[in-house]
């Protein structure tokens, strides 16, 4: 019989779990945390300045122009939305498949989803050039006719998909937090601390009837989030696929985008988990090397899925016999943006192959490096899709090039500051591992012989 390895290391008791996870909230974090927060916050301030300048002066500061009308904003929007998908996959899809290892990483992965979608949401608004009129995207009765939105437009589908995704992810994450916030409330000493966590926990007591309804709603949200997450990146891909442009107008886009999203999202989860393990050594007992190994396997599998999609695109372009379609793909691989294309191929399909070796899957430095490459590669994937298709379309007389300016680099770099600032504040303020979900899996993989008393 194949023995299950324990999910939680270190022979913990229920009380140990609560103590370990709450420690970060209840004590002053070390200098490493403050250094990280200071760095992230500085980049965030820089981001605000760059965005403010763009909003005040105008979109001319950025590289978008004819013929490349979609630039860094759309590329980075798709990048961040994709990052979010792994969080929902871990919290919802793995929950439905009863994958118990998800419990240790679900909370932080979901938090990553919420923050990544927040970061992503800013980009399309900035791209409109007049972010103060963002509410025009929503259908509401107005004095202009009323002039409604065009429900046939993929961009309107995107507004609905992303805002629904943001709302449902936030609610799902918060529902998961409620019992843990009650735990923090009951442990807190100070009056205000008790009040704040008491208010956030909504007065949760944890009776059997409470848990019965709670578990039901958790499962329903998981069941609703699963088709939702697939729909969101499908709809993001419709932004491209519904147009008539060679390189965009392909039926493979929805599954290809979803696979890429999960791939990049797991890359980011591994990056964040490596950082958390370094920042809070106690979490190594919860987010163990076994967890990291499973995630690395998923990275390799989804990396090969996107590799297959890259190959399939080329095959279909050749097989279609359409000269424009064929040119679009040859231009990607050997044209002026070949460097971006080959960065994408290297980072997304070649580098993750190192995970065939178990040693590489279980080595923190290697997986951290690979996860960074995955993130770089997936940003370049969206760059290649967006820019190479737009810069040379049907008429050679209207061909052109896309050049990123300081402001393009500024928003791209700055968005990481926003994401990491919120993420670090979350680590300090909320339980970063789901206390109530980890406790029931404590007995998994514990042998009868060393069955220790979980009650102490």
């Amino acid at each position: 019989m194949i023995k299950r390895r324990p999910l939680i290391w270190g022979k913990k008791t229920y009380k140990d779990i609560t103590d370990d996870i709450c420690e970060l909230i209840e004590t002053a974090p070390g200098p490493k945390y403050y250094m990280a927060l200071l760095g992230a916050k500085s980049v965030f301030l820089f981001y605000l300045a760059v965005m403010g300048t763009i909003a005040y002066t105008g979109m001319g500061l950025m590289g978008v122009n004819s013929p490349v009308g979609w630039g860094t904003d759309i590329i980075t929007f798709v990048f961040w939305i994709g990052i979010g998908h792994a969080g929902t996959l871990i919290s919802a899809v793995l929950f439905l498949f009863r994958q118990k290892w998800r419990t240790s990483i679900a909370r932080t992965a979901e938090a990553m989803t919420v923050f990544a979608v927040m970061t992503a949401g800013i980009f399309p608004l900035l791209h409109t050039g007049r972010p103060w009129l963002a509410y025009w995207l929503l259908p509401y009765p107005n004095q202009r006719g009323p002039l409604w939105v065009n429900f046939r437009s993929p961009l309107v589908w995107d507004v609905f998909a992303v805002s629904t995704y943001a709302t449902v992810s936030l609610v799902f994450w918060y529902v998961g937090l409620v019992p843990d916030l009650a735990t923090v409330r009951d442990r807190s000493k100070g009056v205000w601390r008790k009040r704040i966590y008491g208010a956030l926990s909504l007065g949760w007591t944890g009776t059997g009837r409470n848990w019965n309804n709670y578990e039901m709603v958790y499962m329903l949200l998981a069941g609703l989030s699963t088709p939702l997450v697939l729909s969101v990146h499908s709809i993001v891909s419709f932004d491209f696929a519904v147009s008539q442009l060679p390189g965009w107008h392909t039926t493979i886009f929805p599954p290809y985008f979803v696979a890429g999203a999960i791939f990049s999202g797991f890359g980011m989860v591994v990056t964040l988990m490596c950082l958390i393990r370094a920042l809070v050594p106690k979490f190594k007992h919860y987010v163990t090397l076994d967890h990291m190994e499973v995630m690395n396997k998923i990275i390799m599998a989804t990396g090969m899925l996107v590799g297959y999609a890259y190959g399939s695109e080329f095959f279909i372009a050749w097989y279609s016999g359409a000269p424009y379609e064929q040119y679009a793909f040859i231009n990607r691989a050997v044209g002026p943006y070949a460097w971006a294309y080959w960065i994408m191929i290297t980072c997304n399909t070649l580098i993750p192959q190192i995970f065939w070796w178990p040693k590489a899957r279980r080595s923190i430095p290697i997986m951290f490096t690979v996860s960074i490459f995955v993130n770089i590669g997936m940003w370049f994937e969206r760059y290649v899709i967006t820019v190479t298709s737009l810069h040379r379309d049907f008429l050679p007389s209207s061909w052109g090039m896309f050049k990123m300016t300081f402001f393009d680099f500024g928003v791209l770099f700055g968005s990481f500051g926003m994401f990491f600032t919120i993420f670090l504040l979350y680590l300090k303020g909320l339980p970063a591992i789901s206390i109530a979900e980890v406790k029931p899996v404590l007995s998994v993989g514990r042998e009868e012989g060393d069955k220790i008393d979980v009650h102490q």
């Binding site: 009323p146 429900f151 735990t183 059997g208 009837r209 848990w211 039901m216």
Partner: protein, 187 residues
């Protein structure tokens, strides 16, 4: 008046009424489940367990039936779907019909993504709303019987208003199953 006083007054104003109950507290969940089963056999109805994490054994021991939330989800999803269908049709074909690329005014296939998202949104938010309503959340500052009940301890409580409430008998069940603490409390 300091902020502290204002908040305390506000809390007192919003706090719901509590009921008194008889509680046994364990650190071993199996003993607690056994005690809960016995309390149910004794004939109590208004009793429940308090656990730091969800336990399926509690549903059986206390006799909690399947949650009705899935019905809320279903009908809310249906409502979201219906609303989406009606709204996209009314906007595009009735209130302000615009000829866009010669497409039909009511181009249903193109409206499906929006209708789908509205279905999910209505279903998800209503389910969470139903969970809050059924659990009586949010509750302002409910009494905490024992702070360890959200950490590593397990409790069974019987409301005094229960028809089969018999303090001596329940106390015997609790102590027979090795309850650590047995006391009266508010919930």
């Amino acid at each position: 008046m300091s902020i502290n006083n204002i908040v305390t007054k506000l809390e007192n104003l919003l706090r719901s009424e509590t009921k008194s109950c008889f509680v046994g507290i364990w650190t071993d969940e199996h003993q607690m489940i056994a005690a809960a089963t016995k309390v149910r056999e004794h004939g109590c109805k208004e009793f429940d367990c308090i656990t730091p994490f969800p336990m399926h054994e509690v549903d059986e021991a206390v006799g909690i039936s399947r949650s009705i939330i899935p019905w809320v989800t279903f009908f809310a999803g249906l409502a979201g779907c219906g609303f989406g269908l009606w709204f996209t049709w009314w906007v595009s074909a009735v209130n302000w019909p615009l000829n866009i690329g010669g497409k039909p005014m009511w181009s249903l296939p193109a409206f499906i993504p929006v209708i789908f998202e509205l279905t999910i949104l209505f279903a998800a938010l209503s389910s969470v709303g139903a969970m809050f309503a059924l659990n009586g959340l949010p509750k302002v500052d409910p009494p905490v019987i024992d702070p360890d009940l959200t950490c590593h301890k397990f409790a069974v409580y019987v409301l005094e208003s229960d028809k089969a409430y018999d303090k001596a008998a329940i106390e015997k069940i609790f102590s027979d199953h090795g309850a650590e603490t047995i006391k009266m409390a508010e919930i």
